[in-house]
């Protein structure tokens, strides 16, 4: 057991730090710091994605033949951690982390050649069409129909909670091509050009004041059959493969730590009164810091297992559950620190677009982020679903 990074790993860390220092502008950091959501706005994430792409670092999880950087698990951990520490934006995950791996695993050579480079260099902006208004945690009950008409599918129905559909030019979606069997059967995985006629996007405002998700309507939308991934009717399999990536959570401790650091800075300076001098607050900060320490060491244990070719077991639900709960604890504490400043509600978005406001800049995203983070325990598999999975896979119930 060795708790230090090797010389190679340290050298890589140095390289990452130098890259970050050279690429991250103060404006990017400010905009990212004032973003209440886990998703960076396209106008923040785009330049960041391009910078990563030119360094060859846009798709850490991809195999080398698809353009991945062939990092070890430790390198991926170091990269994610240094990015979080530096306050880097997020790359939109829908392309690189979600549809990309599916295309790599199940796509035809033509699909790979067409889509992967555009995902890698950020030319395409993807969104995910899974959930529907009636489905909730019961994803397989989806009803959006794709009916074959020659070499096209004709799609009718609606998808909801579609993150950044208003930014995206492509969507990957689960659609029903057959409804005669079990509900998991008859689902197909297709790629939809968002500029196709018949697509309407309805913004859904969330309680934090953000426009992040949408409802997307399909009215006789024609999609070429060649846009289907894999076999017709096996979409559920491909979709589940992708969910493993989405739910993995992976490397979250460093971002949580940065969030907690934000709380300490608030309490130390800007917030009304001198909350940092309050011993009860100091104990709460410590409590959360310890939670993050536990999560971080769990991540490192998993990274070590992956590194030595072992299977870390059914831990992705645990990581998702704890990450979302700790995130909510951090944002709740930040609101408490604000004291009376929490009363001021600034509705303008994006917050980094504001020139002046009643609150100090560091305080502006606090309440929106608290509200936004309520979704952490709901989307991507609710905490209730995660507990069902943990009870089954980790406890054997």
């Amino acid at each position: 057991m060795n708790f230090s990074f090797s010389d190679e790993e340290k050298a890589f860390r140095e390289e990452v730090r130098e890259f970050l220092a050279s690429v991250l502008t103060p404006d990017m950091k400010r905009a990212q710091g004032m973003t209440p959501s886990v998703f960076s706005d396209k106008e923040i994430s785009d330049p960041w994605h391009r910078a990563l792409a030119s360094k060859g670092w846009a798709a850490p999880g991809w195999p080398p033949e698809a353009g991945g950087p062939t990092w070890t698990p430790a390198q991926r951990w170091i990269f994610a951690t240094e990015c979080a520490k530096a306050g880097a934006p997020s790359v939109s995950p829908m392309g690189v982390a979600m549809v990309g791996p599916v295309i790599i695993r199940f796509g035809t050579p033509e699909q790979k050649a067409k889509y992967l480079p555009r995902i890698l260099n950020g030319e395409d902006y993807w969104c995910q069409g899974y959930s529907e208004p009636g489905s909730g945690s019961d994803l397989a009950s989806l009803k959006t129909r794709a009916v074959r008409d020659g070499d096209h599918y004709v799609i009718n129905g609606t998808k909801i909670w579609t993150t950044h559909a208003h930014h995206a030019n492509m969507m990957f979606a689960l659609v029903r091509t057959d409804d005669t069997g079990r509900k998991q059967e008859g689902i197909s995985f297709i790629l939809i050009d968002m500029t196709s006629p018949g697509i309407t996007i309805r913004p859904i405002l969330t309680i934090g004041g953000d426009h992040e998700v949408n409802q997307v309507f399909f009215d006789d939308v024609r999609v070429p059959v060649e846009n289907r991934i894999g076999e017709e009717g096996l979409g559920w399999t491909y979709g589940k493969y992708l969910l493993e990536f989405e739910r993995g959570g992976g490397i979250a401790a460093a971002r949580l730590r940065r969030g907690l650091q934000h709380v300490i800075e608030l309490a130390n300076g800007e917030a009304p009164g001198q909350p940092i001098d309050d011993p009860a607050l100091a104990m709460k900060i410590s409590e959360i810091e310890i939670d993050i320490d536990a999560l971080e060491l769990t991540e490192l244990r998993i990274m070590s297992a992956l590194q030595t070719g072992q299977n870390p077991g059914a831990v992705s639900s645990l990581l998702k559950l704890r990450n979302s709960e700790i995130k909510q604890a951090v944002t709740r504490l930040a609101v408490d620190v604000l004291g009376y400043d929490a009363l001021v509600w600034e509705p303008t978005r994006p917050l980094y677009g504001l020139n002046r406001a009643t609150l100090p800049e560091i305080e502006l995203p606090v309440v929106p982020e608290y509200l936004n983070s309520r979704a952490f325990t709901i989307f991507g598999g609710s905490s209730e679903v995660q507990r069902d999975i943990i009870a089954k896979l980790m406890v054997g119930l």
Binding site: I207, P272, D336, Y340, D341, L343, L371, R374, I378
Partner: protein
């Protein structure tokens, strides 16, 4: 000992409930929000007509002489419908301070107008550096031959933008955070030197920062001529806190009912969500939190006129536990509504925001636990 409502109380509660259900249902709120309307002058007149503005004011000055229990009944109904009126700022804080500290002439001048709905008053006491310490007042008032000159800054002033008068606390003598030497001044909102920065308030209504720069007031502006108004500030803050506790109970009640209805009808995997025992047990805990909140809000009201330490202990106890309970209920209401809970399309989020406002206003859970503990220790030492 009888904690069942009197006939009069029951009628008050019922009429408030009827009013709120008719005028503050989700549809009405959405329409007002879309029209960008705040609380309307018409509704305020209706409040006056129903006697609610007069409710807690002294009978000698056009009031009905009601107590904190009656106010609590009204506030609970307001909470059920998420009413965003300036009731607390004008009637409980503003009029409350005037009734407690004002000279007979000041009371006779101002209170009847408030009762009639002709005058709105905001309470400008908190300062940013003070956090929740009520004695921490840096704004100062200097007496000269013509009267008073006020300088300083106030934060978290509720509904100041539509108020006619501000009741402003200022230090007449002593150092910051001294208990003695704080006076309350009647300041016209449009007085020279008064600047408001007004924002939307989390959960509804408006909130202002107030700057006072060389604000000149007549000699009669000092409420009751009182140079030691901290006990009055503490009393009206406690009364307003108790009122907000009752409002929170109403909000919690609505959240539990709405969420129960949702999980009974929303189906997943072919069955209503309510088949999930984990959700049912969560809702049981939410229902328990409502009942405990109801008891403590009533307790705070029942102690509203007790001696200050007992009143403060009851109020801080209620605020601490209801602060936590309301947060739990509202956050879980969002959670149990799933994706819909985090959208602006349902009102769950609006309730959550008002709950966060409630928690922050007059101090959060830890502040009131500490105040309660300090009062308890003092009580044991005595």
């Amino acid at each position: 000992m009888d904690l069942t409502p009197t006939e009069e109380q029951r009628l008050l509660r019922e009429s408030a409930g009827r009013f709120v259900r008719a005028q503050y249902n989700a549809d009405a709120r959405r329409k007002r929000a879309e029209a960008g309307e705040g609380f309307s002058a018409g509704a305020w007149r209706e409040f006056a007509d129903l006697g609610w503005l007069a409710l807690p004011l002294p009978e000698a000055h056009g009031g009905l002489g009601g107590g904190a229990v009656e106010v609590g009944m009204l506030m609970e109904a307001f909470g059920e419908g998420l009413v965003d009126s300036p009731y607390v700022s004008t009637v409980i804080l503003g009029a409350g301070a005037i009734a407690a500290a004002g000279s007979p002439a000041q009371q006779a001048d101002l209170l009847p107008k408030i009762a009639e709905g002709a005058l709105r008053v905001a309470f400008a006491h908190s300062e940013r550096q003070a956090r929740y310490n009520l004695a921490d007042v840096a704004t100062h008032a200097v007496k000269d031959a013509d009267g008073w000159v006020l300088d300083g800054a106030k934060t978290a002033v509720l509904d100041a933008d539509e108020a006619d008068l501000l009741i402003v606390s200022a230090r007449i003598h002593g150092n910051r955070a001294d208990a003695k030497g704080i006076g309350l001044f009647i300041v016209p909102r449009d007085a020279e030197g008064v600047t408001l920065t007004t924002d939307l308030r989390l959960g509804g209504g408006k909130v202002s920062q107030v700057r006072l720069a060389g604000v000149r007031l007549g000699a009669g502006a000092l409420l009751g001529g009182l140079e030691d108004a901290l006990p009055v500030i503490e009393a009206v803050s406690d009364h307003a806190t108790a009122a907000l506790c009752a409002e929170a109970v109403g909000m919690m009640q609505t959240l539990v009912e709405t969420t129960a209805a949702y999980i009974k009808t929303r189906e997943q995997f072919g069955k209503p969500l309510s088949v999930n025992q984990a959700l049912r047990h969560r809702m049981a805990d939410m229902a328990v939190a409502v009942e405990e909140a109801r008891s403590l809000a009533l307790r705070a009201a029942l102690f509203a006129d007790a001696e200050p330490a007992a009143r403060a202990r009851a109020v801080s106890g209620a605020k601490a536990k209801i602060g936590r309970g309301a947060r739990f209920v509202a956050e879980q209401a969002v959670q149990l509504h799933g994706g819909m809970g985090v959208t602006e399309e349902l009102e769950i989020g609006a309730f959550l925001k008002r709950v966060v406002f409630f928690d922050a206003m007059f101090g959060g859970v830890d502040h009131h636990l500490k105040r309660h503990a300090a009062l308890s220790a003092a009580g044991r030492a005595a």
